[in-house]
Symmetry: C2
Subunit: 224 residues, 2 copies
């Protein structure tokens, strides 16, 4: 996974280009830690941005939803041009000057055409990809989808072809003369953490919290 | 703050309408807890979705950035139609069936025209709104913006007029016959938390971590 793609004019990072990355390894690392994306699409010139979960398999991103949603309704007409953005927030960066305040973050922007996954087998596989992306191990523990449910669910595939990543890490960068300014500076780390699982009120007696729910984390040791 | 707006056809929640809210109180509560938004805009029919921070004051949302960015460059041509979405993720909802898995979240979608804030006084006030929204108390502790910095920064205002909120809370909702299915079900709470502040390497001796950085939280006790 060392392939590097040149940015296209549309994915080239304009602002702070030194923070840009165009390689799959960087993008996949971010995509595999996150599971919430914001999908942008336009209807008659009006952009919409909708939060939804996703799963990645190889160079495909899958999202799903009810056929009733505005986004998917739009997509019934055919492939729809979308922008899918994933953002992981890592910290607030407090500089001495107001101007140099920043955030540490990792983000990926994917441009592409979303297409409906029609083939039933492929659809089921994509739903498993989504489920396992969010909560590895959960699929096999759950009651499997039946035909009615599969019909109610739309699955969309977006190829991870035209993309860019952007990453900011590290301390504040102040103007040299500001280092004498008497204020605290540093980073307040931010992290999404899981709390203790809450049992459903109607659990069957003796049902234990599974490991994947008890110690839920998005940290990934290795590349998928 | 009890005014309720009817949804417009564009902000009416299509999917799961029982989770929709169209009142300012609900929207403001979400907007005031968050500070990261995803801004959607279209360039020649291609949607872009860009993460950025925001601040709210009354019925205005402010975002900022360098005049070099693609988003702001687009906006130099005049007011630009945008969609700004804020999402707070509260938990994974594990149902017995794959199909009924869900997430607890609170989101706001704002449609509107972004306009540049040109007036220098209004611009400075908007930047203070942004700063105080993200980190209350920080503005006065920082070296204030100078003219050069103000010129390098663009500030955009989006009116909070056409909006909708969507909220899911609570346990999994399974099909009645699935409650006999032998698997754990429940909620894994998710929360963005701040870690211990990291001192900058070049702090002046004796500079203490301020309270707003030491105990950073987005939880809000009251409506702003």
């Amino acid at each position: 996974m060392s392939e590097t793609q040149m940015p296209t004019p549309r994915t080239r990072v304009v602002r702070e280009p030194h923070r840009a990355a165009y390689d799959r390894e960087t993008a996949y690392r971010i995509l595999d830690e996150g599971f919430l994306c914001h999908v942008g699409f336009a209807v008659d010139g009006q952009p919409f941005v909708i939060p939804t979960s996703y799963g990645r398999k190889d160079a495909s991103l899958y999202i799903h939803g009810s056929a009733a949603s505005r986004m998917l309704r739009q997509m019934q007409k055919g492939a729809v041009q979308v922008c899918i953005t994933i953002t992981l927030l890592d910290g607030l960066v407090l500089a001495r000057s107001v101007f140099n305040h920043s955030m540490n973050y990792r983000s990926v922007v994917i441009l592409g055409k979303a297409t409906l996954v029609d083939d039933p087998e492929e659809k089921l596989a994509a739903l498993k990809t989504l489920s396992e992306h969010i909560l590895p191990g959960r699929w096999d523990d759950s009651r499997q989808p039946n035909d009615r449910e599969l019909k109610q669910t739309s699955v969309l595939r977006v190829p991870i072809e035209e993309f860019s990543a952007k990453v900011r890490t590290g301390p504040a960068i102040d103007d040299e003369e500001d280092y004498a300014f008497p204020t605290w500076a540093g980073v307040v780390p931010l992290e999404m953490v899981a709390g203790s699982p809450i049992d459903d009120a109607r659990l069957l007696q003796g049902t234990e919290v599974p490991e994947y729910a008890r110690h839920y984390t998005r940290k990934r040791q290795e590349m998928a």
